[in-house]
Amino acid sequence: MAHWAFLIPLVPAATYFVILLFGKRFGERCSYIGIGALGASWVMAAINAYQWIDRREIVRESVEWAQWGSGSIRVGTHVDGLATMMLVVVTSVSLLVHIYSLEYLRGDRRYTHYYAALSLFSASMLMLVIADNTLALLTSWELVGLCSFMLISHWWEDKDNSNAGLKAFITNRVGDVGLIVGIIILYFVAGKTFDIDTINSAALSGTIRHGTLLIAACCLLAAVCSKSGQVPLHIWLPDAMAGPTPVSALIHAATMVVAGVYMVARLYGVFFAGFSIGDGGMNLLALVGGVTMVIGASMAFVQNDIKRVLAYSTISQLGYMVAALGVGAWTGGVFHLFTHAFFKACLFLGAGSLSHACHHTFDMREMGGLRKKMPTTFLTFTIGTLALAGVPPLAGFWSKDEILNGARANDFPIIMVLGFVAAIMTAAYMGRALYLIFFGEYRGHAHPHESPKVMMVPVTILAGLAVVVGLLNAPFADYRFGQWVKFEVEVENLYGAEGAVAEGEAAAAAEGEHAAEGAAAAAEGEHAAEGEAGAEGEAAAEAEGEHAAEGEHVIVHSIAEIKELAPGETVLFEPEEHKFNIGVAGSSVAIGLVGLLIATWIYLLRKAPKNLLLVNPFRALHTLLVQKYYLDKLAVDGIAKGTAGPVADGSYWVNQKIIDGAVNGVGVTTKKYLAPFAYEQLDQFVVDGLYNGLGETTKGLGGAFRKLQNGRIQRYGLWLFFAVAILALVVALLA
């Protein structure tokens, strides 16, 4: 199947054109075309997954796409574990969303367009995950953005919706600048290629100057920020909730927004080497992720719109993934991507179901007590919430735990702390949402009822998946996921080697030395690597053994290790994996539960004093610090509320006013002042004026000359003789 992987996106792509061109003829039946196409893709993805697990053979296919000068630009597919995993996730969620939308969107004005866009999105997203080069990645990256724009502004009659779409697209474009620049830099430094494997390999092999690599990585990070909602470019994501809810589930929770994370995972060599992830300490990638997860989570507290709560939650969870990759926990990050897709989609679709029941409102203040009226929704939503909060053995627990453990093991304490903070907040705000919606009295005016089966079946399936998928990488499952999906790239050590672009004179000077050293260190390094790998535990040793048999390459985990090798030697690079740690797991569970308890305390039991928000936040913070280990309910209540109030409000304010405001401000300034200035002042006046001025001057001079022509012949004669006399003098002087 992997050889035919291009069919997987091609089927929905064809569907897009079919629906677009003949949609009117099919009417509502076009949805079945879409579902059929996705079904086919899903089947192919499943077959592919099976084959991958079976053979684990990376398959690449490509054709020439463009050419210029000496370079031939190829495009093709690249199917490995990561791609396989993504194919499964995307086709699964997309298929379920397609089905769900049958009912949810029934009777919509642009039903056919909706399905067409959904098909196009699926196609683009599938293409994105199997792209073998950065250019194809960029293409599909932009295409998913376009689909996102189309679907967010699906109900474009309302200006707010189209504004949201615009905001999404333009914000993403800002990030795309980074992507474009990053890709271009990588194209050149990796030896004029867009091929991802080559780029990864080149990045790790030491042929590229570190500074350049850092710039490239930073550029790509900007794209990650925009696409995957990282601070400070996350602002579009909450607004994107203006689109239909299934779209939010598919695009803005499960798939498109993780494209950034996927890209980091895909080009991990670049990030790993560029941000020196293996060296520990702190790096920008981890920092961005860490900050995002806390800020995202904190803002989720103050939302009344259920979809916005989920949106901030998504931001926060994406922050986890990015942070995971930033700390070197590659598998953790990718695994979290995997699990998150299911439970977050489940939550969104649940939210859709709620709104379907409650007169298309998403306002939690108009809900409450829906537990009895919508039991399936309640059940699935609860599973999703618990999975998100990291309650074992649900999916979120395993993946989040792995991230925190990775941060610990790779020596990123700050990230770990931030992770815990975010975890507690996550549990708390999800608890809050759960209680506000399903418990207490119903506060709305509609007559809520359970949604039809067409909607609830997908939700239930997702809930079921949210329960089980986490087990794939559980210790008792032999960390299967980690074996199936891993980052590995063949690297030739060129640090200090002849012909390496590395560093001009310095490198040249050191060359001889290095060569000698390298040769001596060759055997040693090999052994060391092996030894270390062996010490890592059975699973790793096993994996290595396999590889050693296959590719006969030594496996290394860090650049330092590569550098120790002899120049020219080829190794297999893999980020180091850290497996289950009971301490971290326990803490995270505890923290999750604490969060839930806080929420329970406040929202379910309604024990919190009403004026708690008025408490001076500094005093609250002080109290929190001083009475750190107090398990006093009131104190906890106070701290929780205090944190949830002003800090979240503050960060929301920052979000809305400063960051959003800055962007809007830049936008408004550009539009209101800069652009008119450029247009009215510069273009119309200065530039135009200059040219018109030339014309006027000509005419003005013409007028002056005309005065000489006063109509009297003797005056003409006078000019004649003046001219004669003067010119005669000139001639005489020249002679």
Binding site: Q67, G69, S70, W141, F169
Partner: protein, 519 residues
């Protein structure tokens, strides 16, 4: 097909003008005949262009094919030398196609004052000029064709234009004329500095002049000569400080005028750089490249900012041309084959995309009788198909990958990362980043335009009006462009495959002349 080798290009170039004369001879009353003859002429021309395409030897696109070289003005050693290579071919096809589409488009709604005879004749004359420019291999012949397009366009704007047409047409004419005068001076300077190795005389032959050693000039002289050409071509492109004629011309021109202007006329300038200025004066090019690059990126940003300030759809599209041609010029300024390939691709893509945008803007104006974005809205409701086409084209215009526009922009930006080795990398990398930022602004103005025009509710004033969706002639005119935009976007090799060798020939020449390592 021996006769075709000899006559193919000549017929393609001159059939339109014969058609124009026939059109002029038909009495004014017989409108159907006039239209028929004009359409037939343009179709035959397109047929010949396609014949050229079919007979073209794609294995050697750098070679000049269908070469015809006979005497013309012996006094100044100027010859009738026409031929096409991989750079010319796409542009010839584009020109022939656009004219057919324009004639079809205007079939039933000629702009006021109603005078199909004159308008069609002008369009056919334009066609001769455009195709002629793309095939000429002699500087004087090139110059003549380059100038032939001037008059018809001037009249087109001036007679059939909007309110401010006189100002616009004069401005267009004067700018271009001024540029041509200086360009001609440069051509002459080149002529007098040249020596044809075969005849020992001065020569105007572009091919000969592009050969190393034919031109004997000091670096300073080369820089000055290039400056003249720069002005001539740069005004036509138009590059940043010389662009002010463009918005006026576009805004005032009738729809087909805008389309032809955007689709083909602007390319004459960029084509001139690639065909004439760079190969003949590589040393001049080297000195000018950073400044061309600078003006190009200023154009990108400046054009985009101005777009944001526009209230008028057509004017917005016009300013977007400034930005897009900035990308083309940036590609050219890198002097690399990636950059120039991108430029040629950008020329074709911009021709199709912006041409289509102008078509749509024209159709909208015809229906709404206004181009004020604040008064428009809900196109997707009133005329959904047109709304979709507009959306598609806007996306293509903002450089969405998978559509043609991308392949003009991205490789240009890419090429700026690593310009020819004799150029400053730092400078061009800065340009690269600025140009990339330009893409954000492009998205902004196009989407804002789309939002204003196509989305939202239908404004009160048009609520009760019947807005006709895309009709027959419009479909016929637009469908080929839509298909090409998509096809070129998905299979860029269709075009890159043709241009690459020819461009490489040019860049290799430049690199050799400058002792640079060709990249």
């Amino acid at each position: 097909m021996n006769w075709f080798d000899d006559w193919g290009i000549t017929l393609t170039v001159f059939i339109p003008i014969v058609g124009a004369i026939i059109v002029l001879l038909i009495p004014k009353g017989e409108e159907e005949t006039i239209k028929g003859v004009a359409l037939l002429t343009s179709l035959v021309t397109l047929g010949f262009a396609i014949g050229l395409m079919a007979e073209f030897d794609y294995d050697d696109t750098a070679k000049l094919q269908f070469d015809v070289n006979t005497s013309w003005i012996d006094v100044i050693n100027s010859r009738y030398h026409v031929a096409i290579d991989g750079i010319s071919l796409p542009l010839v096809l584009l020109s022939a196609l656009i004219i057919v589409l324009c004639i079809v488009y205007s079939w039933n709604h000629f702009p006021e004052p109603h005078n199909p005879k004159a308008l069609l004749a002008l369009m056919l004359v334009l066609e001769t000029g455009m195709i002629g420019t793309f095939v000429a291999q002699d500087l004087i012949l090139f110059f003549i064709f380059f100038e032939v397009v001037l008059l018809p366009m001037y009249f087109m704007i001036g007679v059939w234009g909007g309110k401010n047409r006189e100002y616009a047409s004069i401005k267009f004419f004067l700018f271009t004329l001024f540029g041509s005068a200086l360009m001609l001076l440069s051509f002459l300077a080149v002529y007098f500095s040249s020596k044809d190795p075969l005849t020992g005389q001065h020569t105007f032959d572009i091919v000969t002049l592009s050969t190393a050693g034919v031109l004997d000039v000091s670096k300073t002289a080369a820089v000055v000569m290039f400056g003249g050409m720069f002005l001539g071509f740069g005004i036509k492109v138009p590059m940043f400080p010389f662009h002010t004629w463009l918005p006026d011309a576009h805004t005032e021109a009738p729809t087909v005028g805008s389309v032809i202007l955007a689709a083909v006329l602007l390319k004459l300038g960029t084509y001139g750089f690639i065909r004439v200025a760079l190969p003949i004066l590589p040393e001049g090019a080297q000195e000018w490249a950073p400044y061309i690059g600078l003006l190009a990126v200023i154009g990108i940003i400046y054009g985009a900012l101005n777009c944001l300030a526009q209230k008028d759809v057509k004017r917005l599209i016009a300013f977007s041309s400034v930005a897009h041609m900035g990308f083309v010029m940036l590609g050219i300024a890198t002097l690399t084959s990636a950059g120039i390939n991108a430029a040629v691709f950008g020329m074709v893509a911009h021709g199709l995309i912006t041409g289509l945008l102008f078509f749509i803007a024209g159709s909208m104006q015809e229906r709404y009788h206004t181009r004020e974005m604040s008064r428009l809205g809900g196109l997707l409701i009133s005329a959904p198909k047109m709304g979709w086409i507009l959306g598609f084209t806007a996306m293509a215009s903002l450089g969405l990958p998978g559509l043609a526009g991308f392949w003009g922009e991205f490789p240009a930006i890419l090429a700026a990362y690593e310009p020819l080795s004799v150029l400053s990398e730092e400078t061009f990398r800065t340009y690269m980043v600025i140009a990339a930022v330009g893409t954000v602004l492009a998205a902004a103005y196009l989407l804002v335009m789309y939002q204003r025009v196509a989305m939202g509710e239908v404004p009160e004033e048009f609520k009760d009006e019947h807005i006709h969706d895309v009709h027959g002639p419009e479909w016929i005119a637009w469908a080929p462009m839509l298909i090409l935009i998509l096809a070129l976007g998905v299979f860029p090799k269709l075009l890159f495959g043709i241009t690459d060798d020819a461009v490489k020939h040019v860049t290799d020449g430049i690199a050799t002349a400058l002792n640079a390592t060709s990249k």
